[in-house]
């Protein structure tokens, strides 16, 4: 069966070149990088080269990169690591209401440890208001964490504007850039952030590897205590194949980025225009312009997202949803709640995230199958009949 994969925010395939680069580090070059003999020290050098590749992709210095097990760990290390290291200065942190679970739940954990947390609301497009951030900062505030882009609604936040406010007020600024690194240009100096999280899984590297950028030896409490790996900031023998995978994927991403952005943006615009033409009563979610180039998200009235995903799945189309029924907790995506989508409409959420591996033919295929699936579910829906009558 045809397979049209449009859930790149959830996972990306590992590139052939990336797999090839990783392979020797499973058996041939298996040494422990902390060992003093040559097969160990050789690996140490390889790790440092990869650190350089990751740093180059985001305009950082290589000694500003810590390898982690995932984007979620990078977020945990940024939030808890800063809070624990700086708590003598103050115990207030600010995060947006649409952050990833790894940020939200790290903040909630700190609340239980007697920190005060402000969850900043966003507007109907998912944007954080700089003035609102400014007035939320108190003399107790030590950290602000606002994501670079949201992977459910695609909105890109005005990070440099937000970080400037924090810089002026002496507050550390972190951004979760899992959704942006490899999808749009990301430069830590332009964004002027102190910490930035990266995930391998959304960059064409394998799952199980991520990285945290931290500026100029910023003081951080390690979360994994162990040896002096990552200069004492994260214990545990390094995931060498994963690190090589992330390094290679970063190198490829840097080269291919300009071409990728224009290509996926064209596909996305065709998809959005086509969906609007073919399906009535839908709401486009996220910001119309300030959004990820390969990201299209909608709420479709009178149907439920999980059922729609399964129906598309039967046609070989893979997408995502923020519907309550599709989540293990059976709760509507907090992001859709935060941007004010009514709960019944939020049930019909669907998200397509594209990459350069997608093509025009696939967009046409989705535009053929999606309206059929929507029609079928609407024909079953008692709500749809009422909507039309009203």
């Amino acid at each position: 069966m045809k397979r049209v994969y449009m859930d790149h925010a959830a996972a990306t395939p590992v590139r052939k070149q990336v797999i090839e680069a990783m392979l020797p580090y499973f058996d041939e070059d298996f040494g422990n990088p902390s060992a003093v003999y040559d097969i160990g020290s050789k690996i140490r050098e390889v790790i440092e080269e990869q650190r350089g590749s990751v740093a180059r992709l985001i305009g950082a210095e290589s000694d500003e990169i810590i390898f982690t097990s995932s984007g979620a760990e990078a977020n945990n290390l940024a939030i808890k690591g800063v809070a624990l290291a700086w708590q003598k200065k103050g115990k207030h942190i600010i995060v947006s209401a649409i952050e990833h679970h790894s940020v939200i739940n790290s903040a909630r954990f700190l609340e239980r440890m007697d920190f005060e947390v402000t969850f900043l609301p966003v507007d109907k497009h998912g944007l954080v208001d700089p003035e609102r951030l400014s007035s939320a900062i108190t003399p107790e505030t030590i950290l602000v964490s606002i994501m670079h882009a949201n992977n459910e609604i695609g909105t890109i936040e005005p990070i440099s504007e937000l970080s400037a406010i924090c810089r002026e007020r002496g507050v550390i600024f972190h951004t979760d850039a899992v959704a942006t690194v490899g999808n749009i240009p990301v430069d830590v100096n332009e964004l002027d952030v102190d910490l930035l999280s990266i995930s391998g899984a959304s960059l064409g590297a394998p799952k199980g590897i991520g990285a945290l950028y931290f500026r100029d030896n910023l003081r951080l409490m390690p979360l994994i205590h162990g040896g002096i790996q990552e200069r004492g900031r994260r214990g545990g023998t390094e995931n060498v194949p994963g690190i090589v995978g992330l390094g290679k994927a970063s190198e490829l991403a840097e080269k291919e980025l300009p071409d990728k952005v224009s290509r996926v943006q064209e596909l996305r615009d065709l998809l959005i225009a086509g969906v609007h033409e073919r399906i009535e009563q839908i709401r486009y979610t996220g910001h119309p312009e300030k959004r990820l180039p390969g990201h299209a998200s909608f709420c479709i009235a009178a149907i439920e997202g999980e059922a729609l995903l399964f129906m598309l799945n039967q046609e070989g189309i893979y997408a995502n949803t923020g519907s309550a029924c599709a989540s293990k907790a059976l709760k509507i995506s907090p992001v859709l709640v935060a941007i004010g989508i009514p709960p019944d409409l939020a049930q019909g959420s669907i998200v397509f995230t594209m990459s350069s591996s997608n093509n025009l033919e696939e967009i046409e295929y989705v535009l053929e199958k999606l309206p059929l699936a929507v029609d079928k579910l609407r024909s079953l829906s008692p709500v749809w009949r009422r909507k039309r009558a009203s």
């Binding site: 009178a302 149907i303 439920e304 999980e306 059922a307 399964f310 129906m311 039967q314 519907s323 309550a324 029924c325 599709a326 293990k328 059976l330 709960p343 019944d344 049930q347 024909s379 079953l380 829906s381 008692p382 709500v383 749809w384 009949r385």
Partner: protein
């Protein structure tokens, strides 16, 4: 995640639609919670000669509705009343644990349709007797 039987009923729902001159209509849930089911029944000689449904909801909700309609069609009122959530889940070869309560509303919606039919019948009888 879902059994083959669930996927079959989801992909090819039996008895989907409505009955314009239904003898009883039952509705449970609401779209805000994620699931809403409406059942329509046609009764003759104390037997459900037709059962139809409309459902807003996930894969499980649609499959449950379809299965309940199939189980109830042709049954007597008393037999149809005896259809339980558990029996529906078993007929579907199991439902994911988290879906047992929110999506398994079919039997309840059918029960509401029967109740509606019985209330209307009582009312009609009363009018005739007066």
């Amino acid at each position: 995640m879902y059994s083959e039987t669930v996927m079959d009923h989801f992909s090819n729902p039996r008895n989907a639609g409505d009955i314009a001159d239904a003898d009883g209509i039952g509705e449970v849930g609401n779209p805000v919670c994620g699931d809403m089911m409406t059942f329509y029944i046609k009764v003759k000689d104390d037997r459900l000669i037709d059962v139809k449904f409309k459902t807003f909801g996930c894969v499980a909700a649609i499959a449950v509705s379809s299965m309940v309609s199939e189980m109830a069609k042709g049954k007597t009122i008393e037999e149809a009343k005896a259809i339980t959530k558990k029996a529906v889940a078993e007929a579907l070869k199991g439902l994911p644990k988290e879906k047992m309560h929110c999506s398994n509303l079919g039997a309840k919606a059918l029960g509401e349709a029967i109740k509606d039919y019985e209330e209307k019948k009582t009312w009609k009888t009363k009018i005739c007797n007066e």
